[in-house]
Structure formats: structure tokens, C-alpha cells
């Protein structure tokens, strides 16, 4: 059972023999004395047996967050690494547990270490008092306080009773990074053994007493009405308990997963034909292209300084970016147990509070009557920031009057997700009479998220629009004149966060077009990037871009890849780079081979990353490799298309993703950083890999590629 705040406090108060510290990034407080205004986001508890339990709300979905957060705590606490246990927190009123935006490490960096340091100081004080010695003669190490002069030591477990009576220090000294023993070390996943033995429990593995299984037939397009449905046929399937009509489709509830699946097939639901103007992705692409010629909302405008040469030549290009699905291997699922005045959910989610509020609204009960148990997630990628599947499960459980597990089929997952939105990018560059690039213009026509309503109170100012166009407005290159703009195009199908959110489309267009500018200039694309990253070392354009860090990662991939060496016919080498939010800097050099059938294969990727201070090098490498493979899927594999208002793809057979045989040789170089803090790694590897592949394909074929995914017909003939 997961721990809610109320239960936890009770336990803490009753046990007495534990040291409990709650923290919210602002203040630290001892559990037993918590007063109402203090709302911690995480807890550490040290028990008499020396076990350290970290209760934290961040969702584990493969980014290794449980391991890296435990490392932060263990470092300052001087804990025995093998004595740390992680417990998933559940939301409570006022909590803020969501996981997204590659933000977990960055936002936990200080508070988690402060909490660990506070506990360490309290244990030290307790030990010094017990021994009646000066506390400065005591040191903490490996889960014990040691008094070197007398050779005595006490394990943390023996001190927690005394330490719990002390006030929590708010400003305990943090370690200097040169004294780190755990942070920066190659550290294996805390949950690795569970994964390889099949013991890891994901949302889909939850089973509670009396639980039924549901499958939901949804309308294929928004607003479709059912024409014919064989309810009796579904009811006659063995194990089917009920067929329930809901706001979002027809649910079949059964004793087992298989009965629910069979019952749903037996429904043989037929739906209205879509209207003639139903959503169509080809029509939408044309609408986006038209919109990309509008002025839009200017997100950045820099006029050329006096003395800049007049523009005598302009090149322009239009880049098309398609729809993509998240397609995690664990499909959407949720167990809901709705009772008269409360509800319990077990759900793989990245957005526990929003989910809690929405289910509370649905059921007409206060949010704190909705208990959310966050499970392990079999692939998140932003999909589980949406919570449609949990709302559906709650609706079905309420109607079925029983605990129900709703499991989406693979086709449900492909067709009813919230997609990465298509966009069109119109770029142009101006050159002076000497052929020097003097102007850069990038207009993105795209769509905001629509999976949750926008806050009407939010000011729709420059910062707001910049938020929707990362990678476009923060172009790092030193063009004397820069204009970036955003044009909003209505998009009726569901779309929302996806790995790296708004950056992949913009960075694809920006980095591919930058190669066109280099070509027009007759310059080497990598040398030209370095040249255009001169000028001010740091630019502030919403986010802060440190060009020195970007230059450094480019120089590393140049030197490590053998950039400039001659390449065999049919092969090509490309480069691209990006500063993610001004936090994580990445450059890639990609080698591709284009086979006679025009099929592209990525053969080698040389990567350099500067993510600030590195917490776990293994985690950084894994995210780099995973982000590269993700990008290979986007560049070369499946896209989602819509006809008649519905997504046309239904499995990994028609929305293909990269597989083992698509995997290149990958070299990841972690660039040592003098940065004082760590930055996220889940999303940043994604945006620059696609344009590096595109640029390599252009180098190999001599044909421009301006739309994704890359298809042989793009460079035939």
C-alpha cells in the first residue's frame, strides 16, 4: 500500500523511534511536529534498523529517477547505499508531484540534499550528546556517526530516537562537489534486479480483490454516434458481466482480460460515417503551410546593427513535421475502485494531481477523496501527463459498481493517444553582397496542447509564445538580424506533450535549414556552426544560451568523429546541435548509408553532451542512447496520419519504431562541465538527432529532405 500523508503522519507519531523529515524545497520540518501550512513534497525516514526510506512523488518510467534521487540523498546523508529504500508518494492536497520536462533532478538537486544534510547534522548532534563530546569531533560515514578520537561509532538506527527530538536545522552545510563519493559515480539501477527477474510491478500488473477487467470501444472520430452494436453477442461471451454505455464509448466488463477483449470484439460496433470535413492530416498540412506565411506572433526580433551589409540574396525553405504517437510498450491502463464517497486508483501516471482533480470532478467528490497510487510506468514519454485512461476507468468502475482494470489495446493506444502535433516551418536567410549571412527568419505554424484547458488568466505574452516554440525562438547562431514567430493553427484532434515537447520540430527545421545556409555560403556545416556561435558568449532570449558550451560539444564531435575525412559513395555525414532550454547541450555527428533501394541506415552516431554536473554517468549514457534511437524512429520509421477524423495506424506494424537492426554504433562523450548543478537528460537528446540524420542523408544523396519521416521517394531520381 502506498503512503498518504495522513496515514504517514499517524505512523510516524505512533512509532516514535524514527527520524522523519519532510521537505518541500523551501523549508524542512520534522514529521511528528508538522503543522498545517507546511506541505512537504517528499519525506525521508530513518528507522531504528538503519533503513532509510525516501518517499517521493517522482514517477519512474525508465529515466532512472529513483536511482538518481536516492544518490542525491545518500550523498549528503552519508548513508549506506544498500540501506536506502524508495517508496512512491501519493498526492495530497497541496502536493506537487508531477514528472515531466526533464525537471526531476534539477528541481530535487537542492532540497533533497538539504534534507539529507539536515538529518546528518541531527544524527551527529545526537551522537555527540550521547558521548558528551564536542560535535565537531564527530563525523558521518556509511550510515554511522564516528568519534575518531575514541574510536567509537553508532549506527544511524541507534540514534534516531534522540535525533527525532532535535529541531530540524534549515541551513545545514552542503558538501563541496570535490568531496562527493556517490554523485558522479557509475551507479547501477536500484530496481535493476526486479526488472530482470520479472518482479517489477507496472500499472498493468496491479490486481486487487474482486477486480474485474474492462475493454472500451471508443468512437473512431470525435462526436461519432454508434450505428449498430451487438450488445447481446457481447453479453453472451463467457465471463462478460456487463456492457456499459459511457460518455466515451461502450465498455465491456468481464471476469478476465481475455473475456473483456473477446466481448468487445463481439460488439462489432459500427459507427457513423465521418462528415466530409472531418479532420485529415494532409489538409491540415496545407493549412499549416499557408499559415506559416503569416506574420504571426513575434517571439524574437533583433534588428541588424548599423554597418551590416544590405541583403542582396535570400534563400528560403519550408519544412514539414508530421504527427507522431508515443507508443510506449505498456499501453494505457488504470485500476479504479469507485465507492460511494471515495475512489482509489492504481495508475501509471506522470500527472497525479491533475488526474486526482479530474476524477474528483467526474465523481462529484473532493479531490482528497481520490487516492492515487502511482505505479511503475512502462514508458512515459509525456503520454502519461494525459489522464484520459484514468478518467475512463473511474467512470467504468462507478457504473460497474466494482473495482475495474481498464486496459487499452495496442490499436486503442495508437488511435486515441494525444499526439505530437504536426507543424510547418518557413525559414529564410539573407546574405549581403559578400555572401555573408546577415538575416535569419523562422516562422513556426503549429498548435498548442489541447489535452487540458489553457488557463484563460495566463497572459499571452512573448514568454508564453516562446514556451510553445522552443528551438525556434532560441536559435543560438549570431545572425545580425533575427526574427522568429509563431502562428497558431487550430487542431481538433488530441495533442499534447511528447518526448522533448515542442523542440523536436523546431530544431529539425532550424538545424536542417542551417545546413542550407552553410551550403549557400559554400561553408563546411560544422565549421560554419562554430563560426556562427561567435560573438557574445552568453545570450539571453527567454532562456539563456551559453554559446561556449555549445561550441565545446561541437568541437568534441568534430574531433571524435573524424569530421572532414572523405566518405564512400552512398554514404553521408551530418551534424546538428542544440541547447535544450539553455540547460543541456548536445551535438551529434551522424553517418548514414543510403542503399540502392534508397533505404537509409544510420551507421554511426558520435555524440557529445554537457548536462552540467553529472549525477549518474550510466543514466546519462542510457538517455543519450535512448534519445538517439527515438530520433531514428522519428526520422526513418512511422508517422501518424488522419483520415475521416481518425488516426489510421493501429500497431507497431504500421506505426513502425526502430528495432535492434536499426541500431547504429553509438559513442557518447560526456563533456566535463564546471557547472555547479545538474540538468535533465530525458528529453534533451531527442531534438538534434533528427536533423543530424537529415543532414547526413542530404550529404549522401545531394537531395534536400524537408519533411519527415524520410522516405526513399524524397531523393529518388
Amino acid at each position: 500500500m502506498m503512503t498518504s500523508r495522513r496515514k504517514f503522519l499517524k505512523t510516524a507519531a505512533l512509532s516514535g523511534a524514527s527520524l522523519v523529515i519532510g521537505f518541500n524545497g523551501v523549508r524542512l520540518l520534522q514529521g511528528a511536529k508538522t503543522s498545517a501550512p507546511f506541505q512537504p513534497n517528499a519525506w525521508i525516514r530513518i528507522d531504528a534498523d538503519g533503513i532509510v526510506t525516501l518517499t517521493i512523488g517522482k514517477s519512474e518510467m525508465g529515466q532512472g529517477v529513483r536511482t538518481s534521487l536516492a544518490m542525491l540523498l545518500a550523498e549528503e546523508l552519508e548513508a549506506d547505499w544498500t540501506h536506502i529504500k524508495l517508496v512512491q508518494a501519493s498526492p495530497w492536497p497541496g502536493s506537487d508531484l508531477g514528472t515531466g520536462g526533464s525537471d526531476s533532478i534539477r528541481s530535487s538537486w537542492k532540497p533533497l540534499r538539504q534534507a539529507g544534510a539536515a538529518a546528518r547534522e541531527m544524527l551527529t548532534t545526537a551522537a555527540a550528546a550521547r558521548w558528551k563530546v564536542d560535535r565537531s569531533s564527530c563525523t558521518a560515514s556509511h550510515g554511522a556517526i564516528i568519534h575518531s578520537p575514541s574510536g567509537r561509532s553508532l549506527n544511524y538506527g541507534e540514534l534516531v530516537g534522540d535525533a527525532a527530538k532535535l529541531p530540524v536545522p534549515q541551513d545545514s552545510p552542503l558538501k563541496d562537489k570535490k568531496n562527493f563519493k556517490i554523485i558522479g559515480q557509475r551507479t547501477s539501477r536500484i530496481d535493476g534486479h526486479d526488472i530482470v527477474t520479472g518482479k517489477a510491478r507496472y500499472g498493468i500488473d496491479v490486481k486487487i480483490p474482486g477486480m474485474l477487467h474492462a475493454s472500451l470501444e471508443r468512437p473512431p472520430w470525435d462526436g461519432a454516434k454508434v450505428k449498430r452494436v451487438q450488445e447481446d453477442a457481447a453479453r453472451s461471451v463467457g465471463g462478460v458481466r456487463s456492457v456499459i454505455k459511457l460518455s466515451r464509448g461502450i465498455a465491456v466488463v468481464a471476469d478476465t482480460s481475455w473475456s473483456a477483449i473477446k466481448g468487445r470484439t463481439a460488439l462489432a460496433a459500427e459507427w457513423d460515417d465521418p462528415p466530409k470535413d472531418a479532420f485529415d492530416s494532409e489538409t491540415h498540412a496545407r493549412r499549416l503551410e499557408t499559415a506559416s506565411r503569416e506574420t504571426g506572433f513575434i517571439t524574437r526580433s533583433e534588428k541588424a546593427p548599423a554597418g551590416t551589409g544590405d541583403i542582396t540574396k535570400t534563400i528560403e525553405a519550408t519544412y514539414h513535421y508530421p504527427f507522431y504517437a508515443h507508443a510506449p510498450v505498456e499501453t494505457m491502463n488504470c485500476v479504479a475502485d469507485v465507492r460511494e464517497d471515495h475512489c482509489t486508483l492504481w495508475v501509471p501516471t506522470q500527472a497525479p494531481e491533475r488526474l486526482q482533480n479530474r476524477v474528483g470532478e467526474l465523481l462529484g467528490i473532493p479531490a482528497d477523496k481520490v487516492e492515487v497510487n502511482i505505479t511503475l510506468i512502462g514508458g512515459g514519454f509525456g503520454r502519461r501527463l494525459g489522464f484520459d485512461y484514468a478518467v475512463e476507468a473511474a467512470e467504468i468502475s462507478r457504473a460497474a459498481k466494482a473495482p475495474v482494470q481498464l486496459l487499452w489495446s495496442r490499436a486503442d493506444d495508437m488511435k486515441h493517444g494525444h499526439f505530437q502535433a504536426a507543424s510547418v516551418h518557413y525559414l529564410s536567410a539573407g546574405f549581403d553582397a559578400q555572401g555573408r549571412p546577415v538575416a535569419w527568419k523562422h516562422t513556426k505554424a503549429g498548435s498548442f496542447h489541447n489535452i487540458s484547458p489553457l488557463d484563460p488568466k495566463e497572459a499571452h505574452d512573448v514568454a508564453w509564445y516562446q514556451d510553445w516554440s522552443w528551438g525556434a525562438y532560441d536559435v543560438p547562431y549570431a545572425f545580425p538580424e533575427i526574427q522568429t514567430a509563431y502562428v497558431t493553427v487550430n487542431l481538433p484532434v488530441k495533442h499534447g506533450p511528447w518526448r522533448a515537447v515542442f523542440a523536436p520540430s523546431s530544431v529539425f527545421a532550424r538545424e536542417a535549414f542551417f545546413d542550407e545556409v552553410a551550403q549557400a555560403r559554400g561553408a563546411d556545416p560544422l565549421a560554419f556552426r562554430l563560426e556562427m556561435l561567435k560573438g557574445a558568449d552568453v545570450i539571453k532570449v527567454g532562456s539563456t544560451v551559453d554559446r561556449r558550451r555549445l561550441r565545446r560539444v561541437l568541437e568534441v564531435v568534430r574531433d571524435k568523429s573524424g569530421w572532414g575525412a572523405s566518405i564512400a559513395k552512398g554514404h553521408g555525414r551530418g551534424v546538428a546541435c542544440n541547447a535544450y532550454f539553455g540547460h543541456t547541450y548536445i551535438a551529434y555527428v551522424v553517418d548514414v548509408a543510403v542503399a540502392p533501394g534508397n533505404n537509409v541506415r544510420v551507421e554511426r552516431v558520435v555524440a557529445a553532451v554537457d548536462c552540467g554536473l553529472v549525477v549518474n554517468p550510466i543514466g546519462v549514457e542510457q538517455q543519450m542512447e535512448g534519445g538517439i534511437i527515438w530520433g531514428i524512429s522519428s526520422a526513418l520509421k512511422g508517422e501518424i496520419t488522419f483520415r475521416g477524423g481518425a488516426a489510421q495506424q493501429s500497431s507497431y506494424a504500421d506505426f513502425e519504431v526502430a528495432r535492434m537492426h536499426d541500431t547504429p554504433a553509438i559513442e557518447v562523450h560526456i563533456v566535463p562541465s564546471d557547472g555547479p548543478e545538474p540538468f535533465g537528460m530525458g528529453e534533451p537528446p531527442v531534438p538534434p538527432i533528427v536533423p543530424a540524420i537529415v543532414n547526413a542523408v542530404v550529404a549522401a544523396t545531394g537531395k534536400r529532405v524537408r519533411s519527415l519521416p524520410i522516405r526513399p521517394e524524397h531523393f529518388r531520381g
Partner: protein, 157 residues
């Protein structure tokens, strides 16, 4: 519904389910062996891979009626305490990210190495490419298979 006797991880189980119930759902819903995952239900993703008499099979494609008389091994029964060379190699190469597809991947790799103790890279690619890992752990999986192959050829005492 007739009773069917199944052999899973060396133990006999008598189950009473519809004949067409896929082994996947018998494992997960009836026997509580949730290490075998549902990923697509149509044999495309490999998440539900188990061993049938040592061969890798998709448990979502094997109806109960075809499961009797065969010896199945799931991730839970692969070894006591995760000691199979593939499981050890998976940990040593730090393969897993979200981990969801990994039981199926490990079972596929086990079957590959059983038949080919010294597989070429081409064969590893061919066999493993029947399965999907959306986190992109393929480079590490490839290395884990090399490592496991080496350990199986010359097991350390």
C-alpha cells in the same frame, strides 16, 4: 470450459478457461505470473515472449488448447534469484530503462543463445528485431547478449 493441464516453470497447473484463451492471459490473470507482459496482443512486439520447450514463442498467440503438453518457462522461472547468464549480463551491461519489454527480450535472447552459443551480430539483429523496446535499449542489449554468450561458453566457477 474444460480443464487443461499446463506445465509452467516445471510445475503442473490445472486451469479451467476457454479453449481460445491465450497463454499470455492464463499466465497473467489465472496464475499471477505478471512478469510476462502484454504489449500488442497480435504477435508484433515480443513483450509476451516465453520459452516453449526452450524455443521462444509469443504467448499471446498460443491458445490454451495448444499449450497442453509443452513445457513453458517464464521470466519468473528462468533461474533462482536472477542468476541466469542473460539476467546477469543484463544487469552488468545496465540494459534496462523502463524495463517493461525486458522480460520478453531476455527470454528471446535465452532461446537465441540456446540454439546458437556463438551468434553473429547479424543473427542477433535478426532475432532481436522481432521485438520492440521504445526506450531504445538495443545497444546495451546487444552487448549483454555478447557477454551472456561468453559466460555460457566458459562459465566462471
Amino acid at each position: 470450459m474444460e480443464k487443461t493441464e499446463l506445465t509452467i516453470n516445471g510445475a503442473k497447473h490445472v486451469v479451467q478457461v476457454d479453449d481460445d484463451t491465450p497463454l499470455l492471459w492464463i499466465l497473467r490473470d489465472t496464475l499471477g505470473l505478471t512478469g510476462t507482459k502484454f504489449g500488442c496482443g497480435v504477435g508484433v512486439c515480443g513483450a509476451c515472449t516465453v520459452l516453449a520447450d526452450g524455443q521462444a514463442v509469443r504467448s499471446c498467440q498460443i491458445p490454451c488448447s495448444a499449450a497442453a503438453g509443452r513445457n513453458f518457462t517464464t521470466i519468473e522461472g528462468l533461474s533462482p534469484n536472477g542468476s541466469h547468464p542473460c539476467q546477469r549480463a543484463w544487469l552488468e551491461e545496465e540494459v534496462a530503462q523502463c524495463g517493461f519489454c525486458q522480460p520478453g527480450m531476455i527470454m528471446t535472447a535465452c532461446a537465441l543463445l540456446r540454439e546458437n552459443p556463438n551468434p553473429t551480430d547479424g543473427l542477433i539483429d535478426k532475432v532481436m528485431s522481432d521485438s520492440v523496446c521504445r526506450c531504445g535499449t538495443y545497444p546495451r542489449m546487444r552487448r549483454a547478449i555478447w557477454r551472456a554468450a561468453e559466460q555460457m561458453r566458459s562459465p566462471k566457477q
